[in-house]
Amino acid sequence: MGAPDAKRRVIGPFNRVEGDLEVEIEIADGRIAGAWVNSPLYRGFEQILVGKDPRDALTITPRICGICSVSQSVAAATALADVQGIDMAPNGRLATNLILACENMADHLSHFYLFFMPDFARDGYRRHAWHAATAARFAAQTGSASRDMLPARADFLHITGLLAGKWPHSLALQPGGTTRAVEPRERLRLQAIIRGFRRFLEQTLFDDTLEAVAALADGDALDAWAAAHAASDFGRFLALADALQLATLGRAGDRFLSYGAYAGDDGQRLFAAGTWDDGSAALQPQAITEDISHSWLHAQREPRHPYQGSTLPDADAPGGYSWCKAPRYAGRVFEVGALARQQVDGHALIRDLVATHGGNVRNRVVARVLELARVVPVMEQWVGRLRSGEPFCLHGELPDEGQGAGMVEAARGSLGHWLQVRNGRILNYQIVAPTTWNFSPRDAQATPGALEQALQGTQVDENGKDTLAIQHIVRSFDPCMVCTVH
């Protein structure tokens, strides 16, 4: 396959992604002609869950992933609530949102400071005038930003200490709410913690108010903001993005999907569910399938909806090159993540950026940072609505037979659990994680997954291994490999 002078190169491991990742590229004429993404770790969670008491999913599934732990808990709790047909106590819904938002915002912060920005400090950029100052600020471990960011992150995660016992891996997130009622004095602590985090963001990341950042309405406004806030960490990123033309890197198929995030009492979500494919449409969960034609899994003829899905590893499966399955929506490749979430929700800045340059490295980072500005003020409101003395958790009986789905948004995109119960035990449990979508292998039509598409056409050096563009593109998705294959 490929042009006669094409060369294949294997790149990996990628660090500063959660888990293990390998990418094989084919280079022709100085560009990536094809990419094959391999998730090289298989543990077998879906096999482990079969036969268990359904409630045990609340203990087991968060341990799929130490960075999306709460998202996994909320997906499992939501699937169980669907089986039980119960609702959440209003306090429990607020507490669930606060715990989930805390994880998601902490993840956005970790991604920006610890995973993504250190690449600009690498020696490959030493010839640029901006390198020395960038390295002093963002170099892995030694940069000054990490000393500012780590205490802010740890303080902010005290929300989980109060509401969920600890992070990661909490059992506080239940189908009917949360296990930890909040005393009046704890509401004050929560408010103080969130305000402290707001101050860090406003002084260090933005040098501006969260409300001003959230109100940016188009690309021109963002450019003007960047010029006026060049010393802030987000301003520094935007300047680097211009210097390195990150808006031209890593475009995938520009189809976006979001399950919608942060439920309200009225059934509405703070960020809407839906899809974007040259226009928005309502989400049809039955249109989700997984194809395993290029996975190291026992073959099934047709792509299947997760309720009909199965997971049986086969390291010698013909055509396989990854443990990852290939999720498709209406048979097509969709990208998930903060950019997809904000595009589907219709945020004016993101709609404008996507209209201009589609999904790309710069826009994915902008959307993630924008969410910090949009969500933290809402967290303050949620705390204000907690009512001490009123219930945090409702209870229901688990039927012996039934099925249910839990569809949530993790920091890095759409996460779904599909659970079937027979004779009071788990008959089938299928999980489709954000990076399963983004880093999927090819499907039966040989259509590459989102990252595979995003890498295609990227200019590379002779052997591809020193090309930092590849590192930026991969990390722009904020991949979580331990979720991808579980």
């Binding site: 491991p13 990628f14 500063r16 482990i48 087991i60 250190p118 296990t179 930890r180 009622a181 209870h395």
Partner: protein, 336 residues
Amino acid sequence: MSERFSVLWLQSGGCGGCSMSLLNAESPDLYTTLELAGIELLWHPSLSEASNDDFIALLDRIRRGEQALDALCLEGSVMRGPNGSGRFHMLAGTGRPMMEWIRDLAEKARYTLAIGTCAAYGGIPMASENPGEACGLQYEGGNAGGLLNARWLSPGGLPVVNVAGCPTHPDWVTDTLMQLAMGELSEAELDELRRPRSYTNHLVHHGCTRNEFYEFKASAEQASDQGCMMEHLGCLGTQAHADCNRRPWNGEGSCIRGGFACINCTAPAFEEPGHPFTETPKIAGIPIGLPTDMPKAWFVALASLSKAATPQRLRDNAVADHIVVPPNTDRRKGGK
């Protein structure tokens, strides 16, 4: 000693949660704690700059003995499947099973640490039929001998140090690395399961905020109740070795403070309790598990005595999610 204590951190069949927890280190933050202890993170999958060939070259230098390594930390289970091939985790970019890399590097590092219960004993991936053929570094569940045999000692003369927990507390990791860097961790500092006694000489029960409910056997009946979770909700705090309630998590948290049961995650085979995690198994209405070191007859006798003496305040509060009856402030009145 002017040389810095070097640490190489690898991940295999785990979730990365022990690394995420490590970043929660406070007072001072993780990087400051390590730096001031003279500890250098040679490489960590979430935190280092180097990737691809630079990293593989580092592993090769250590494997060939060209670069000294003080501590190898493994997070996650060793994945031996399918059929012992190790193909369930090939280290990216190397075409080689991770378990082989781990075995090679453990022979070179002065000390090898299992970070978290997965790396120590196998942990969650060993649940059910253990589809990944997972095991720990030097244990398979509660049985000594994992990837490395039961009598294996590192070049520094210690067995694998099991910093167990799911996840581990950040201080458990930094304390253990500091002890090693200062030359203060001997085998006597490890318990029978080779966990650092710095945190396993305590039970989770110590400092439990529900102690008054425990004393009077005023039990929680469902999730979010404030009472003791031992009788009905599967809490193993009286048996679990860890200082979670003396040294809280994320500020002022712990599992029990968060309103849910301790599942004894620092122990081998915690992943297969033989009953639902949040339900206490009982025979004739009496919980099967006993508090550590407690004779059964005495426990039963004391439990029935204290149940008879339970103040109404505790009975009411135990099955509510907030204080419905505050403690009496009038000294002349006794309990009801």
